[in-house]
């Protein structure tokens, strides 16, 4: 290549601070950001016995199901029939987030708005319905919307269409880590070419088939008591409870956000990702979570002693909880930083989980209060953490670290700081 002509570079501000200016939440313990936040600070759990199907034949009978959610309130009826419950939750959260950010997409340049969401199980309920029609009646019974409702890109596509966002859209699937990975992608896009990015994720692994599949991960709780079913870091930990919902966030470059008078929740200040080596039979699993944390702190130019709270991944499986506690201890020292897992009130939301934790961290910064980890009373030996148990802890929060681990070995860490 020798006769390339020079043109202007597309990149614009590699160090531009990226802020979150809008949050929308659809969670098992609250629909709407403030309803969720009030419930979370009060320790009100959304875990309950499953009622949307007869759970009796499944080993897991407790879940975090989004209650009192009427898709019609947020999504046009034409779209409701074309999309899965997971996308309804995503469209609703996006509408809330844009409203919260006070931004009208019609007024922004179409190619400078993008949508990047996380998904983990796609439109599994829609998909099971169609696959049932295929196998019980025949191929001609499969509906015209299966091809667009089931696949993992459905929510991103629908959000992009609904708001005329024609920029570089994306979809990342890294199970529970996805919510942080898409926030990092949003930041990348904002620094290169975008003006506003809708990011975050929702999930709804609620179909009978999805419940069955989740059980094979070996990490689901089988306990019937919703209060005792999901106890990460506890001596009584027995796996986690599945949940649905998540959060969508509006991310913008700080200068543009300030220019339009937005009041940011906080700054996406640092990110790091790593992957665990393949577990070998008979040998202890090796985790690279510490490296993800250090990469995120370095990226944010933050020292460990500047971190005010860690939102843990808290998967609820004893050996994995221990590994996470050890990683936090290695970076921060024993009991050196408050650690919390409000997901004990929602269950693990997979593609929506880390996005909701990120939203929660930003709310903690806004209000100077750390939401509690509920249910946990007796931390397991080796989980040498300053867990925020029982009730919320009021304390200034300027810097929060959010951790997420995706099934198979994904580790992601994200640092958010006060604006």
């Amino acid at each position: 290549m020798n006769d390339r002509k020079t043109a202007t570079r597309s990149g614009r501000a590699p160090d531009e601070r990226v802020v979150v200016t809008g949050i929308g939440v659809t969670a098992p313990n609250g629909v709407g950001t403030e309803a969720y936040w009030a419930a979370t600070l009060n320790g009100k759990s959304g875990l309950a016995r499953i009622t949307h199907l007869d759970p009796e034949r499944y080993p897991t009978r407790v879940a975090g199901v989004v209650q009192e959610f009427d898709a019609a309130e947020y999504v046009p009826s034409r779209l409701i029939v074309q999309t899965d419950h997971w996308t309804h939750l995503g469209l609703a959260a996006t509408a809330m987030a844009l409203d919260d950010a006070g931004v009208d997409p019609a007024e922004l340049p179409e190619y400078e708005m993008a949508v990047v969401t996380a998904s983990s199980s796609g439109g599994n309920e829609f998909g099971q319905r169609e696959i049932e029609k295929l196998w019980s009646k025949g191929p001609e019974y499969v509906g015209v919307y299966q091809s667009i409702a089931w696949f993992y890109a459905a929510t991103t596509g629908q959000v992009s269409i609904r708001y005329g966002m024609r920029g570089p859209c994306g979809v990342i699937c890294t199970e529970q880590a996805g919510g942080l990975d898409v926030a990092a992608q949003a930041r990348r896009l904002l620094r290169r070419e975008a003006r506003l990015v809708v990011t975050g994720g929702t999930d709804a692994s609620r179909s009978p088939y999805a419940l069955t599949a989740q059980f094979t991960s070996g990490m689901l709780s089988t306990r019937d008591d919703p209060v005792r079913a999901y106890l990460p870091f506890d001596v009584d930990a027995c796996g986690h409870v599945p949940g649905e919902g998540g959060a969508m966030l509006i991310a913008e470059g700080e200068s543009a956000a300030r220019r339009r008078g937005a009041v940011p929740y906080g700054v996406i200040a640092g990110y790091g990702a790593s992957f665990d080596p393949r577990p070998e039979p008979g040998r202890p699993a090796r985790s690279n979570l510490v490296r993800a944390i250090r990469l995120a702190l370095d990226d944010a130019r933050i020292r460990p002693d500047q971190v005010d709270v860690v939102f843990a991944d808290a998967v609820g499986v004893p050996e994995r909880d221990l590994a996470e506690a050890a990683a936090i201890g290695e970076v921060f020292g024993p009991r050196a930083v408050p650690v919390t897992a409000p997901k004990t009130m929602t269950g693990r939301l997979y593609g929506g989980g880390a996005a909701l934790d990120l939203a929660t961290a930003l709310l903690a910064i806004r209000d100077g209060v750390i939401p509690p980890t509920v249910g946990v009373t007796s931390p397991a030996p080796g989980c040498d953490l300053d867990l925020v148990l029982g009730t919320a802890r009021e304390t200034p929060v300027r810097t929060a670290l959010v951790l997420a681990r995706g099934y198979g070995g994904f580790n992601s860490a994200l640092v958010v700081t006060a604006p």
Partner: protein, 412 residues
Amino acid sequence: MITGLGVTAPGGIGTAAFWDLISSGRTATRRISLFDPTGFRSRIAAEIDFDPAACGLSPQEIRRMDRAAQLGVVSAREALADSGLTLEDVPPERRGVSIGSAVGCTTGLEEEYVVVSDGGREWLVDPAYAVPHLYGYMVPSTLAVEVAWTAQAEGPVALISTGCTAGLDSVGHGYRLVQEGAADVVIAGATDAPISPITVACFDAIKATSPNNDDPEHASRPFDRDRDGFVLGEGAAVMVLEEREAALRRGAEIYAEIVGFASRSNAYHMTGLKPDGREMAEAIRVALREARLNPEDVDYINAHGSGTRQNDRHETAAFKDALGEHAYKTPVSSIKSMVGHSLGAIGSIEVAASVLAIKHNVIPPTANLHTPDPECDLDYVPVTAREQPVDVVLSVGSGFGGFQTAMLLAQR
């Protein structure tokens, strides 16, 4: 820098067999054999005669992995061996993975669904019959996990799932990771194995696939006046992306360089395309700008060319919009005429084809293009390959959800 290639596509296993097929103009489309397609509207596909054991997978791997994962891992092993990369060159923490897929492990999911639902009779499925790897099938991220294990990667790992542009977007994501220094090497590519009843049925329902069941070999007819839909395919392509200086330092053989990447969305319709190709044209312009190239520098366009009525018209308009007069002088071809449309995988397979076109200075043809369509009036390299110098290739993709992606590859 692309320093290793692995392709598992219809018509033969391995990069050499793939190039042999697409440079010869032969087609790998046929009646579906992976299941009995009687009763389906479209009963044809481009299938791989794939024996995982013969491709080096162990019995445990074969049991654990869905077909899409198997294709991805076999391709990743070929790419790694081809690159000559060692752990001394690049340790695990500096190795990243970016894998694309549109439908993840649907084939495995459907097979297992049939069992737990007793042939589709039970909505409340019986968990007692679930295989231990079922959760691994439900989450598409498993495809990236398997490739990461293959590559001994412990850096950033992601599964990109932007429908039918996933295979271009995943390579683009890998390119960004290397560019930013998040990894020294990224194993990037895509895999999909969608030839299963539910996927075939869902495209039947919207008449997106070709019903030309009587003549499968000639059913995929991009840019032809008589095209009547795409022909489903399967496959995987994986490549080793490496930072330029590091690749040169270790004396790696360099196939080509990624010099530009951009994506846009049409925000118009989940499956429909406006005829003007406006957003794809914008993606092409942005990619050219990043590459600091002019339209006249493009020697060959590796088209999306799916063979649906709307796509080929849409794309033709996009090329004219973005490249102006040069569009009429630029050879354009679609390898989907030969290897079908493997959804999320095809983008990476087409990047591989583009890289090989640069390497061999040969443009693979658009097979089955016999009757020109007045609406598609560019040079589509019909039927036979063309030998000519190829320094810069534009590869594009378009997919459900409205995604439009463009990538520029250059001889270094």
